[in-house]
């Protein structure tokens, strides 16, 4: 007993000492510091349409822009607490002496440590769990973008808080861990609870999204974890007693070891979901399961890596945290949203997706969002896309001096359940990305990079009847280069294209995600975006760039929809 008490005393002292060393935020320095970003954009665009009827109703040119500053007040009232309040001041281009000014609260959170044990963050938080529970897939960007396009994507990512595949939520997150001396190494726990929507006291309940991960690291070789992600209504918060819930339970595991000189890793996730309304008899209860084991090999120097995986996601597997999409394909473009004499809605093009942050969601959507079959028909909802099974192979290879970097992947999947037929669709997707650092190769002290990437997708189905026949292919390519022509002055060029043709039957779903009908989808479309620009880098945190971008939309089936947009932009961007 005395020995145990002594041991407890020793451990407690060590605990306190360890915790002081572990506290990382808000310890030293001034109490209030400032963080954020600033940006100025001026853009000019013109559109050319291919319509036989002369257009006398829509403008062919547009300008826009803004200057904004995000000013965050980072306050450390004590060594265990940190508060961030960030305001946005946005000044629309053309607004003089206060016109066109908007003030917003960009984010507000507090984080800290409770009792030197539990870390918390409350307010606006960025969360991520696993690819099947809570994960912000970037499934609409199939290929890596050359730097000239990445500038615009970086702005979109900043606006939408997309970082590290997290979703921005509003709520509370707690995490803590335990370290052990024997048998088990670590136990780490995270729990979160966020609010999706508030009640209207009538037919809409308070809806929350919560979850937890308990990760047990037995040793450096073996880890297992349990993950829970639950979207649910809080009963009693509205007059309507029909409550919705979508619960996802998964287990993840990881086993590392060596095979000869190679590092081998067996990792995977499996689990189930339940989608349910408590009272509504017209609503289905959907339950299903999934599994996704992978086997990875790589050498010690990480010069290459090969991964073989098996994916099986049931047709009724629903996980809003993992299946929410970034791009809302039903949203309007932010300029020339109507065109031609008929004032038709202008279809989104690849260029819009690249630079229009208003097309992007900033949070989880409990409903199944529409997808664009041309951009991604194989895994439109990311790794958690339901009704898929099959094998995939991924690999990376970098030369020793990292002059050449490459990635490839190949998915060979098929449906589990036929859609309107017993025949099953099969999906194939192959991707390749190459990058060459010429500057490193030629031992220049300036930037010189080229990149190229391609993605080919195919959806096929054959059957006894004509309506079963599906044959849809799409091909995305991208290439670009960056050259530092003067110190800190870069020339950037890029080209990306999306071509698709064929047909598919796209499922029409009701509000309960059930298939109720099918729509014929015919396409013979060619979209290209080319861009060139000059960028001045003012250190690491600021740049000025002048860009020209041309987007071309060519619909060979409905040629009257064709259009071309020329877009000039000057962007001055700072982060701090």
């Amino acid at each position: 007993m005395q020995q145990s008490m002594n041991r407890l005393y020793t451990l407690s002292t060590a605990l306190v000492a360890t915790l002081f060393a572990n506290i990382t935020q808000g310890q030293t320095g001034p109490k209030v510091r400032f963080t954020g970003g600033a940006r100025s954009i001026i853009s000019n665009a013109d559109i050319q349409v291919n319509d036989t009827i002369p257009d006398k109703t829509t403008a062919k040119k547009a300008v826009g822009g803004y200057a904004l500053v995000d000013l965050g007040f980072n306050i450390s009232p004590n060594k265990n607490t940190e508060i961030l309040g960030m305001i946005r001041i946005n000044n629309k281009y053309g607004g003089f002496y206060g016109a066109g000014v908007a003030f917003d609260v960009r984010q507000l959170w507090v984080k800290g440590i409770i009792a030197d044990v539990v870390r918390y963050q409350l307010g606006d938080i960025n969360l991520k769990q696993t690819p099947f529970t809570l994960y912000n897939h970037n499934e609409d960007q199939m290929i890596s973008q050359p730097g000239v396009f990445q500038l615009q994507r970086d702005i979109v990512n900043y606006e939408t808080f997309y970082k590290s595949n997290t979703w921005r939520q509003q709520g509370l997150s707690l995490d803590w861990g335990l370290q052990f001396n024997k048998f088990v190494k670590e136990l780490n726990v995270n729990a979160y609870l966020t609010r999706m929507n508030a009640t209207n006291f009538g037919n809409i309940q308070d809806r929350l999204f919560g979850g937890s991960t308990i990760d047990l690291m037995q040793s450096n070789h073996l880890s297992i974890a349990y993950n829970l992600a639950a979207l649910f209504d809080v009963k009693g918060t509205a007059l309507d007693t029909n409550v919705f819930s979508n619960i996802v339970n998964t287990m993840t595991f990881r086993y590392n070891n060596k095979i000869g000189k190679l590092n081998a890793q067996l990792q995977g996730e499996f689990g189930n979901s339940r989608y349910h309304y408590s009272i509504d008899t017209t609503a289905p209860t959907l339950t299903d399961f999934f599994m996704n084991p992978t086997f990875t090999l790589s050498p010690e120097n990480k010069q290459w890596e090969a991964e073989l995986g098996y994916l099986n996601v049931g047709p009724d597997f629903r996980s809003p945290g993992a299946q929410s999409k970034r791009v809302d394909y039903n949203a309007q473009p932010n300029f020339f949203n109507r065109y031609k004499q008929t004032q038709a809605d202008r279809p989104l093009n690849y260029g819009d997706i690249m630079n229009n942050s208003q097309l992007y969601s900033t949070g989880i959507n409990p409903k199944l969002m529409a997808y664009n079959p041309l951009i991604n028909n194989v895994l439109p909802y990311g790794q958690a896309t339901f009704n898929r099974q099959g094998l995939y192979l991924k690999g990376k290879y970098n030369t020793q001096n990292e002059v050449i970097q490459s990635e490839f992947s190949h998915h060979q999947l098929k449906e589990i359940r036929g859609q309107g037929t017993s025949a099953l669709k099969s999906f194939m997707m192959s991707r390749l990305q190459l990058g060459a650092n010429l500057g490193k190769y030629l031992h220049w002290d300036r930037i010189a990079k080229i990149s190229a990437s391609a993605c080919y997708q195919s959806t096929q189905r054959t059957g006894q009847y004509a309506f079963e026949s599906v044959d849809l292919t799409s091909f995305q390519t991208g290439m670009g280069a960056e050259f530092e022509i003067l110190p800190s002055m870069d020339l950037m060029i890029g080209y990306t294209a999306l071509q698709g043709n064929g047909n598919d039957l796209v499922s029409d779903r009701n509000g309960f995600t059930e298939v109720i009908d099918f729509s014929k989808y015919y396409v013979d479309l060619n979209q290209t975006v080319s861009a060139a620009g000059i960028r001045f880098r003012f250190g690491e945190k600021a740049y000025l760039t002048a860009l020209y971008q041309q987007s071309n939309y060519q619909d060979k089936i409905h040629a009257y929809n064709n259009y071309k947009i020329n877009h000039w932009m000057v962007i001055y961007n700072m982060t701090f």
Partner: protein
């Protein structure tokens, strides 16, 4: 079993070490980002607080305030107003941060409480100049300076993008909203006496520009350049119409001399389908040659206005100045010749537009006047020029003991007889008069709808009647103006006394004259006299005084009153006194009391009499 579980729990408690840190999990746990963001290198807040209130009493305001939205004010003789409707708020914060030593962002932010008793509901917040980003990057051969974002005050050259800074012949009795606090309360008057100028706000001589400005400096072969692209106040607006202004400058310096090629252009649309495009182009060459005996400055170029309905082609724009130092001519002398074609228009330059009426259309949807300068043939101060005019100016200054005198002379004429209207100002009670119509810049106000409010002033329009029945003038107009500014500093009871006199004697007539015409041959004669005295009463107090008298007389070739059948015969007086008090370091209290009396003996409704009290507190931090 129970004992076994207890043992495991006990083992867990005694062997566990709780940590607030997550490591080595299968998927990273917890919130993101995992690294603390970087912080600003430097952040500053400065600004000022300015409280101003104005009480006005007018004996008879009914006729003066007879325009629709102002008739309510006409019902009562006394008005109290808290604030400044000239766009300057109470609390102005200028916030800025440096990301690197050479990269910076800034924004202003204002708060204003009208103090009407409605409290929070009427309080106002906003931006004045907006968010601005600047950066400098040094290359091996030169440097790049970038300014982007909100309103930046900038200048290229006088004919391309500039405002007229004038010759410092103005009254300093009334304070401007942007006037700074000086270390000593009397420095304002001492600086004016000594240097002939006050410390001016950053906008002096510059125009407001929103967009992007890129400057390249110290380039090889002594070259420097500017490119600018964006909007000006006159083609602003947030509609997606591609109303743009763009320009630039390429300058080469050779020793003390330089030459530059400059351009400024505007393209605007007055319809949403972009079929009615209007705008102007201005291309010039500017040069300066400095010799020991004189300095030659010039800007020569061409400009044009274009629109679907009006395209008169290109016209010339010439401005030449010879500046002789004291050593050459005994007293410093500036001789100027200018000529600006009626086809040239640039509302962002030093010259006003008096020839192309539709050129004053902007994208503004306001029902008030769209351009804050007089159209028509304007009687302008020495130094101010307009298009459709050519002339010479002489300016000199000299000292006789403690008396410092500055004299200006102008002799100009129209190039083409286009307008049958004249405009002129009322400097004696100008600021007080502009406050009769608060908010906005209404045109055609006053009892005879011939007054137009501009920024902190008013101008009056008079029609000429010696043209064709269709209103086309038969004669070109000739302008003369003589301005005198005398400043004297002395001591009275061991304290400094500053006395300033500002006089202006101008005429406009059908024929050329060597000097101002003082007879009825002139369409219009204007005589303005303003005498000011500032006594440094104590270390923290200045006693300020003002007397002004203006006399405006028109002849029978101008509009006559329907009842009296006589042309304008106007006389106005202004008496004012006040105190500048230094409350504490950086804080000043300014009190002004003005008595006004104005009457047109021909147009009986055009008269006002009353007083105005203004109290201002300004604190800088």
């Amino acid at each position: 079993m129970k004992r076994y579980l207890l043992a495991i729990a006990f083992w867990g408690i005694v062997t566990a070490n709780a940590v607030a840190q997550i490591t080595n999990t299968i998927y990273p746990l917890g919130v993101y980002p995992k690294q603390a963001p970087e912080k600003l290198e430097r952040f500053t807040i400065s600004g000022y607080y300015r409280f101003i209130t104005n009480v006005r009493y007018l004996q008879n305001s009914k006729d003066m305030l007879s325009r629709n939205s102002y008739t309510e004010q006409a019902k009562t003789p006394t008005h109290i107003f808290v604030g400044d409707d000239a766009q300057i708020p109470q609390l102005m914060l200028n916030m800025g941060g440096s990301i690197t030593p050479s990269t910076r962002f800034s924004t202003d932010f204002y708060l204003w409480t009208p103090m009407t008793g409605a409290g929070q509901a009427e309080n106002v917040k906003g931006l004045n100049l907006g968010v601005s980003l600047t950066g400098t990057h040094d290359f091996q051969k030169g440097s790049l300076n970038v300014i982007a974002g909100g309103i930046n005050w900038y200048a290229l050259t006088p004919f391309t993008f500039h405002t007229n800074p004038g010759f410092n012949r103005y009254s300093i009795f009334e304070r401007n909203p942007w006037d700074p606090q000086t270390q000593n309360i009397a420095d304002r008057y001492n600086n004016f006496y000594t240097n002939g100028a006050l410390n001016q706000d950053t906008r002096w001589g510059r125009q407001a520009f929103q967009g992007i400005i890129v400057e390249a400096n110290d380039m090889p072969k002594n070259l420097s350049g500017v490119i600018m692209f964006g909007k000006t106040q006159l083609n602003g607006g947030m509609a997606p119409l591609p109303n743009q202004s763009y320009g630039g400058k390429l300058k080469k310096t050779v020793g003390n001399h330089y030459i530059s090629l400059n351009t400024f252009n505007n393209q605007s649309y007055s319809d949403s389908l972009l079929t009615h495009g209007v705008g102007f182009n201005m291309h010039t060459a500017e040069f300066e040659i400095k010799k020991r005996v004189l300095t030659i400055y010039g800007e020569v170029g061409a400009g044009r206005y274009f629109s679907p309905t009006l395209a008169k082609g290109w016209g010339e724009a010439i401005d030449l100045k010879l500046s002789f130092p004291k050593t050459t001519t005994g007293i410093p002398l500036l001789v100027r010749y200018y000529r600006i074609s009626p086809r040239v228009l640039n509302n962002s330059s030093v010259f006003w537009n008096s020839s192309i009426r539709e050129g004053n259309v902007s994208s503004s949807s306001s029902s008030d006047q769209l351009v804050l300068v007089p159209f028509s043939s304007a009687m302008v101060p020495v130094g101010q020029i307009t298009n459709n005019r050519t002339g010479i100016e002489l300016n000199t200054e000299f000292e006789i003991g403690k008396l410092k005198t500055s004299i200006g002379y102008t002799n100009a004429n129209e190039i083409e007889n286009i307008s049958s209207q004249l405009t002129y100002s009322h400097p004696v009670n100008n600021l007080a008069l502009s406050r009769f119509w608060r908010w906005g810049f209404p045109a055609n106000v006053g009892p005879y709808q011939n007054l137009t409010k501009v920024y902190r002033g008013v101008f009056e329009t008079v029609n000429l009647t010696d043209g064709t029945p269709a209103g086309i003038p038969l004669y070109k107009k000739y302008f003369n103006n003589i301005e005198v500014n005398a400043k004297y500093k002395t001591r009275l009871a061991y304290r400094d006394l500053y006395i300033n006199y500002l006089g202006s004697y101008a005429s406009v007539q059908r024929k050329r004259s060597a000097i101002t015409v003082f007879t009825e041959d002139a369409y219009l004669r204007t005589y303005y006299h303003q005498l000011e005295a500032y006594y440094h009463l104590s270390p923290k107090v200045v006693f300020a005084n003002y007397v002004g008298w203006e006399r405006i007389i028109a002849n029978y070739n101008t509009t006559v009153d329907a009842i009296s059948r006589r042309p304008r015969n106007q006389e106005g007086w202004g008496f004012a006194t006040g105190f500048d008090i230094e409350m504490s370091k950086g804080a000043g209290l300014y009190i002004r009391q003005r008595w006004m009396n104005y009457q047109d003996r021909s147009f009986s409704l055009d008269q006002y009499k009353g007083w105005e009290t203004t109290v201002e507190i300004k604190i800088f931090f």
